[in-house]
């Protein structure tokens, strides 16, 4: 059993402590917005926030996440209002297939929390998620649209 706090909700999940957090989120907590892409922390599709830090949840075990605040894409909007990154993604029509975008949005949200006005270099350094459709140009434009607003 594991006690996880996901999107502000305390959950008691029947899961072994060495289970990757990604699978506990998807299969035990039933939150499928967080995606599986590689399982080796390369692609970033499974990015969530752990205590506010963008983290690839496939590379973290449930026991390592115990007692920490986990936020998934489902918990990013507050009180029914989309996060500014989600809003910018709609306004700039960023997603194509959309599969990487949960992780991409979580990574960008964490970047903006740390650096409210990131430079292109900041974006290059912080956003290392894979997008096979190739939405990078729109990702960059949308980030700048937020910071220039």
């Amino acid at each position: 059993m594991a006690n996880l706090t996901i999107n502000g909700k305390a959950l008691n999940l029947d899961v072994e402590p060495d289970t990757p957090l990604l699978w506990a989120i998807r299969e035990n907590a039933g939150l499928t917005g967080t995606k599986y892409g590689c399982g080796i922390a390369q692609c970033g599709a499974c990015t969530v926030h752990i205590d506010g830090v963008a983290t690839r949840s496939c590379g973290v075990t449930v026991s390592e996440a115990d007692g920490k605040q986990i936020t998934t894409i489902e918990g990013l909007a507050a009180n029914g209002v989309l996060h500014k990154v989600q809003q910018a993604w709609i306004e700039n029509d960023v997603p194509q297939c959309g599969y990487c975008q949960s992780g991409m949005i979580m990574a960008v949200a964490a970047l903006l929390k740390e650096k409210p006005k990131p430079t292109d270099q900041d974006i290059d350094d912080a956003i290392t998620n894979i997008c096979r459709c190739g939405t990078f140009q729109q990702v960059r434009e949308a980030i700048h649209a937020i910071t220039n607003a």
Binding site: T32, K35, A45, Q96
Partner: protein
């Protein structure tokens, strides 16, 4: 060479598939639009016709037969229907009809297949007619209610107005009556210059759910009582499953069953995927690797190189007498190029969920070809068409991979062994990387001859290598020849050669290694464009001419190719000084009915680190249904194309693919992304595709710029094998 005999495993599936959807139901020829009795949607709302359902609250539900995998077809097709329907765009929603419904209704929605950049261009005619027919019926229903001639009524924004009296009503109010009318025999479609909804860069309809994590992809399916399966298929194509020892995983948490899947694979079924995968990894498996276990990239390359000279070859394009002209040439240029296997690497690995009972089999999956997935379901379940259906979900990438149905078949074969329990089969990334349908491997030798005045008089292009159709669509071969091999090299058609040469020979020595090929986004134009457009630069250099000027002379009869090429040359500043240390390269091509060109600006450090600063890309797709989405497809194409150039390449060792995950098969990141400036320049009169054609010009434009910077000509892909990477 027995080891290179290509597998024929998909042929039977196709034959059954064709029979299943009914022989003779030709695409788009027999499309009934409703009838005297209203057909109802699932929620009870009347169908005005198969494409349009209107709810009492004026919501317009547009049926989309093609799949949405990121390319934007869902929105583009809805725009085309809405344009003719004259409905309120803000009230439009969409749904996917199922392949089973399509069969039951005599293929009312036509072709479901979503590949070859055909989603819009080969269905635009009948979906627009669907919208126009519905509009005529809705107006007629209002006119009948008002007892006025329909000719006195018009429709706009879902509102019908009787002009003389000023009376109005809405689509939602008359839809029930409209659905009972006999559809008009013929409707006139709008001239695209009058479009108000189509032709505009409207936002995608599927975005809001994609930013909140609520879009349901195949991997996200949840059904009551569902179990999860992890699978391992023989790592060597042509091999089989020999044995496995399930006693070693008995008692592992969550494990329910171990099942054999066909002759080649084994799966563990458990309560969760994580448990299934963990147990599968712990289970000893012995493979009979079969006749291909010694094949390597080197042995394949050797076999292909033997096809570059002489021997039998299929001729795809020829004119004049190349042999004589080359023999008499004052100057010759010769080069050999090669292009590797590539994995689609959709970010969502292959998966499908199946529920089998004695009299029914249902599948939930992302697929680019609902009807092929349906056929695979019939074949694997051994049930008839009326007892099967496939529920299409959003795709986490397709790129051609999800046009195949191997994963659907596997899911059904597993579910069949556990009747009544829904089974979700998910491939690990490792399974996905090593069981792809790879971009075919080819080599190419080109020889060009010039006369004493440096005019190009002869060009022989010999391709040696793999045919996709030989393995995946043998019915597409013509007397053994695979015409799609000559994509972008053909004398005419929607992927024609863009140059005129007095003596030309383009031929193909077909050699099919055991690695199963596939339609990898862009397909055969990817290597053909790289070969042609790099070699054209080599020819220009040989006669000391500017690459643009050299091309122009050969393109007098190809004005549409030339127009896109000149557009990118003009915008990048060709002929004017580039910034300090920056060099330029050009490429153009015709594929999937569209004309595309790219100009690249790069700088190179130490000969091995390339910074791609800027790309200018032009597209003439004939008609631009959504220019904003075209721009996104174009900029995304440089990620797919440059990833293939720099990082791609799947190698073969001991008969199997060596790359297993993104650590060994990398994908471009945002820091490597050049700024892409897109020129969308629809010239009208034809319908071209958008999702694929641009990928093929990414590589040669950058390689030509790399040559300009270094004087070094790269003739093989990927660059990582040559220790060249992004700066």
């Amino acid at each position: 060479m027995n080891k290179h005999v290509s597998p024929q495993m998909n042929r039977r599936a196709f034959v059954i598939g064709t029979a299943a959807v009914g022989a003779g139901l030709a695409l788009g020829l027999d499309i009934p639009f409703g009838g005297p009795t209203a057909v109802r949607a699932a929620d009870g709302s009347p169908e005005v016709n198969a494409w349009v359902v209107i709810r009492p609250d004026d919501t317009v539900v547009i049926r989309i037969a093609r799949s949405e995998m990121g390319q934007g077809t869902l929105t583009g097709l809805a725009q085309l229907v809405a344009e003719e329907l004259e409905c309120d765009w803000s009230k439009v929603t969409t749904e996917f009809p199922s392949p089973g419904q399509n069969v039951a209704r005599k293929r009312v929605w036509g072709d479901f297949s979503t590949g070859g950049s055909r989603g819009i261009r080969t269905s635009q005619d009948y979906v627009r007619k669907g919208g126009a027919t519905a509009r005529v019926m809705l107006i007629q229903a209002a006119a009948d209610e008002w007892k006025v001639p329909a000719s006195e009524c018009s429709a706009a924004n879902s509102v019908i107005t009787h002009t003389p009296s000023g009376k109005t009503t809405t689509y939602g109010k008359v839809a029930e009556a409209a659905a009972k009318l006999t559809p008009p025999a013929d409707v006139k479609l709008k001239d695209p210059k009058d479009w108000k909804i189509a032709g505009k860069g409207l936002k995608r309809l599927d975005t809001p759910d994609k930013v909140t994590g609520t879009t349901v992809y195949g991997i996200d399916v949840k059904l009551p009582g569902m179990l999860n399966a992890a699978i391992k298929d023989c790592p060597v194509t042509g091999g089989k499953l020999k044995s496995y020892d399930e006693t070693k995983i008995v008692g592992m948490k969550g494990v329910k069953k171990v099942v054999k899947v066909g002759d080649t694979a084994v799966a563990v079924v458990a309560d969760t995927f994580w448990h299934a995968k963990t147990a599968l990894d712990a289970m000893p498996i012995v493979w009979d690797e079969g006749p291909n276990a010694k094949v390597s990239s080197a042995s394949i390359a050797q076999w292909l190189s033997e096809g570059l000279e002489g021997g039998p070859a299929y001729v795809g394009n020829s004119n004049g007498d190349v042999t004589t002209a080359l023999a008499g040439a004052a100057k010759k240029v010769e080069a050999v190029y090669s292009y590797p296997y590539q994995n689609h690497a959709t970010l969502e690995p292959m998966n499908a969920t199946a529920l089998y009972t004695a009299d029914k089999c249902e599948v939930w999956c992302g697929t680019q070809n609902g009807e092929a997935a349906f056929a695979a379901t019939l074949e694997a379940s051994e049930l008839s068409a009326d007892k099967c259906d496939v529920h299409k979900l959003m795709l986490g990438g397709g790129f051609g991979r999800r046009g195949q149905t191997d994963y659907v078949r596997q899911a059904v074969l597993i579910a069949k062994q556990m009747p009544g329990t829904p089974i979700k089969l998910l491939w690990t990334r490792e399974e996905d990387m090593t069981h792809g349908r790879y971009h075919p491997v080819t080599q190419c030798k080109m020889t060009a001859g010039f006369d004493a005045d440096n005019n190009l008089i002869a060009w022989h292009m010999r391709i040696s290598g793999q045919s996709i159709q030989f393995t995946l669509r043998p019915e597409g071969l013509q007397n053994g020849m695979d015409p799609s091999t000559f994509q972008g090299l053909a004398p005419k058609g929607d992927a024609a050669f863009g140059y005129s040469v007095p003596n030309l020979m383009i031929d193909h020595s077909m050699r099919n290694p055991h690695i199963i090929p596939g339609f990898w986004r862009g397909v055969n134009v990817n290597h053909n464009a790289l070969y042609v457009e790099c070699f054209v630069d080599e020819m220009a250099l040989a006669v000391k001419q500017d690459p643009l000027e050299f091309r122009r002379k050969l393109m007098k009869d190809h004005p549409k190719n030339l127009a896109v090429l000149e557009a990118v040359a003009d915008k990048i500043g060709w002929g004017k000084p580039a910034p300090q240390g920056v060099y330029r390269g050009l490429a153009h091509y015709n594929g999937f009915g569209s004309y595309v060109a790219a100009a690249a600006e790069v700088s190179v450090t130490d000969g091995s680190r390339i910074k791609v600063h800027r790309i200018v890309a032009a597209t003439d797709p004939g008609y631009a249904v959504n220019p904003a989405q075209i721009e996104r497809q174009v900029s995304g194409s440089f990620v797919y194309g440059l990833t293939g150039l720099f990082y791609g390449g799947c190698t073969v060792k001991d008969g199997r693919i060596e790359q297993t995950n993104f650590d060994t098969y990398n994908s471009m990141r945002i820091n490597e992304m050049p700024k892409v400036e897109s020129i969308v320049m629809p010239s009208g009169g034809f319908w071209g595709g958008v999702g694929e054609p641009t990928i093929c010009v990414a590589g040669p434009a950058v390689l030509n710029a790399y040559f300009a910077a270094t004087g070094k000509r790269i003739r093989s892909v990927p660059l990582r094998d040559q220790n060249i990477t992004f700066a």
